[in-house]
Amino acid sequence: MVDSAALFPRAPSRTLLIGIGNPDRGDDGLGPHIVRALAPSLSGIVTPIIHGGDGATLMECWQVSDHVVLVDCVRSGAAPGTLHRFDARRDEIPCDFFHYSSHAFGVAEAIGLSRTLKRLPERLIIHGIEGSSYDWGSGLSPEVARQVDTICRLISEEVRPSGLLETATCQEHHHA
């Protein structure tokens, strides 16, 4: 069996940094953008993963790590660029914050199901950034782009205390 350990090599000392989204859909590309921006400076500290948001494969990803930081663009009605931070072990994750993924089984559902099945990582932090524009090929909106440095700093501070220096290779998992 090629198990999740083969697909997502276990690195218990590392934090998984998962960026959700589609780089070609405006602010939805924020997650991948942040992961790419942070991967060099956090090499050896995080395992960077770019992910399309399919809930089932997301659950597989975080089965192999005790610490996960996830970044995604959200839509809650707040002002564009607003930062939201959730601790999945402590906070309820509003389902309607996240874009529906394939067959409506996305980020919030993966967190909910993992919690029910007692498969949540020891620590799962979700950074959600309010988006405003999702047009094809439009890049990040100015409101979201202005927050990139702040998000990178917050995540760096969160994950820096642990880890050995290794070269991180960015994994990519996409959906429709």
């Binding site: 069996m1 090629v2 597989e60 029910t116």
Partner: protein
């Protein structure tokens, strides 16, 4: 709730959950009679057929794969077959077997996602898989592991599980080693038992007593259960080559849907998908599947769309068995693909997506540039049948309170495992009782 036969009513559901894509359903009742049913698909048109024009014939499989994150192999296989029919090449032997193997992976991951995570909650009375998981954690864990096996097959053969990148006109870019496939075998052995357990469970679900004389349409191959190739056959005796598809089927635009509605000429609606395949190809299933169908008292014919969940279970068992067969007999081919050169012409391709017939036809010029493309996805073909199911189902259950009636209507739509974003994303349902 009091009987409301005397009243007219509209029932609305803003989002039918647990389907892929965006659409709405509106049902207007006058007493117990259905005055109007509209499956309103407002998913923005995606214009694939238009932007494929001007692209190279070798790019088409990778572009059409993007039509769907759940069933990319269906779109890749149909477009590849169409291009190969133009080039006049035949892909057989181990390369053909590997194509069936990756399709088995797609069937497993797609069928299990729908059966266990999206459809089973309907029968067990849960809002979603998360609620179901609280009472049935082992079922959900088993389903997640099965789905992962399907994804792993896709990854090993396709390079990644979603939108694979290793399929091409003529075969593959790189073929797996015997060892890479053998690594999957022990998990397939586990999966067979787990899929049969899941099948046993879904067969005990309470099924509404509803049947319809469907015109089933599926592919048929002389010696195997249809996946990648075959002719197109139907319940009423249609038996045609792929080039004849649009002689017998027509598509029309209706105001309430951004997906084209298909019809079999002379008939109003027809059904594609697991039910159609099963009814038209039962004899091609394995002895194990026959034994399971007999044990579950399903028989070789099934006209109750709610039992499609059981048929998806049988097809999952089939896909696992077929995957084992292919892996056990696998010898790594010397070449990963059959070379092909373009020539001007029209080609046809069709395969059995998890949701049914996925039909493609293309024209290319002598340089291999696409000059015309036409794709008939399974959910577009099933739209009329979904509406007709509701037209016939609702009068018998019109006495139900709005919330129960709405639930049953959503469940009836989910019988089809519709993939709305394929067909042209959310489904809004409204039942109008006047």
């Amino acid at each position: 709730m009091p009987h409301e036969a005397e009243k007219n009513r509209t029932i609305k559901v803003d989002y039918i959950a647990r389907v892929e894509g965006e659409g709405a359903l509106h049902i207007r009742l006058e007493g117990d009679q259905v005055a109007d049913v509209k499956l309103k698909i407002f998913e923005p048109p995606r214009f694939f057929e238009a932007f494929l024009r001007g692209r190279s014939w070798t790019e088409v499989p990778d572009i059409t794969a993007r039509i769907c994150g759940i069933c990319p192999i269906a779109y890749m296989s149909s477009s590849i077959s169409a291009m190969e029919s133009i080039a006049g090449i035949t892909v057989d032997g181990q390369l053909r077997e590997l194509r069936r193997l990756i399709y088995c992976g797609e069937w497993i991951e797609s069928h299990i996602l729908h059966l266990a995570m999206l459809h089973a909650p309907d029968f067990l009375g849960y809002q979603d898989a998360i609620e179901m998981a609280a009472d049935h954690p082992e079922v959900v864990k088993s389903a997640l592991r099965l789905k992962k096996l399907g994804n792993t097959l896709m990854t090993v053969l396709g390079g990644r599980e979603i939108h694979p990148i290793n399929l091409r006109v003529g075969g593959f870019y790189k073929v797996p080693t015997v060892g890479e496939l053998q690594e999957l075998r022990s998990e397939l052995v586990w999966a067979q038992g787990a899929a049969i357990d899941l099948l046993d469970l879904v067969s005990t679900f309470p099924f509404p007593a509803f049947e319809r004389d469907y015109e089933f349409v599926a592919m048929r191959h002389p010696s195997e259960y249809p996946l990648w190739e075959g002719r197109i056959v139907s319940t009423s005796g249609l038996d045609i080559g792929l080039e004849e598809f649009f002689d017998h089927f027509e598509e029309e635009h209706v105001a309430h849907s951004t997906s084209l509605h298909s019809r079999l000429k002379g008939k109003e609606d027809y059904m594609v998908g697991p039910m159609a395949r099963y009814n038209l190809n039962f004899d091609q299933l394995t002895p194990l599947c026959h034994e399971l169908a007999e044990k579950l008292e399903l028989g070789p014919r099934c006209k109750n769309p709610f039992k499609s969940i059981v048929i998806r279970g049988i097809e999952t068992v089939y896909a696992i068995e077929e995957a084992m067969r292919i892996i056990d007999a696998y010898v790594m081919p010397a070449k990963a693909f059959v070379p092909a050169v373009p020539k001007a012409g029209r080609g046809y391709g069709c395969s059995e997506a998890p949701r049914g017939l996925c039909y493609h036809t293309y024209e290319i010029d002598g340089n291999g540039i696409v000059t015309a493309a036409r794709i008939a996805p399974p959910t577009a073909q099933n739209q009329r049948s979904m509406e007709e199911d509701l037209r016939q189902l609702v009068p018998g259950i019109a006495h139900l309170a709005d919330d129960e009636l709405t639930w049953k209507c959503e469940q009836a739509i989910r019988n089809y495992d519709p993939c709305i974003s394929c067909s042209c994303h959310f489904l809004k349902l409204e039942i109008d009782r006047g």
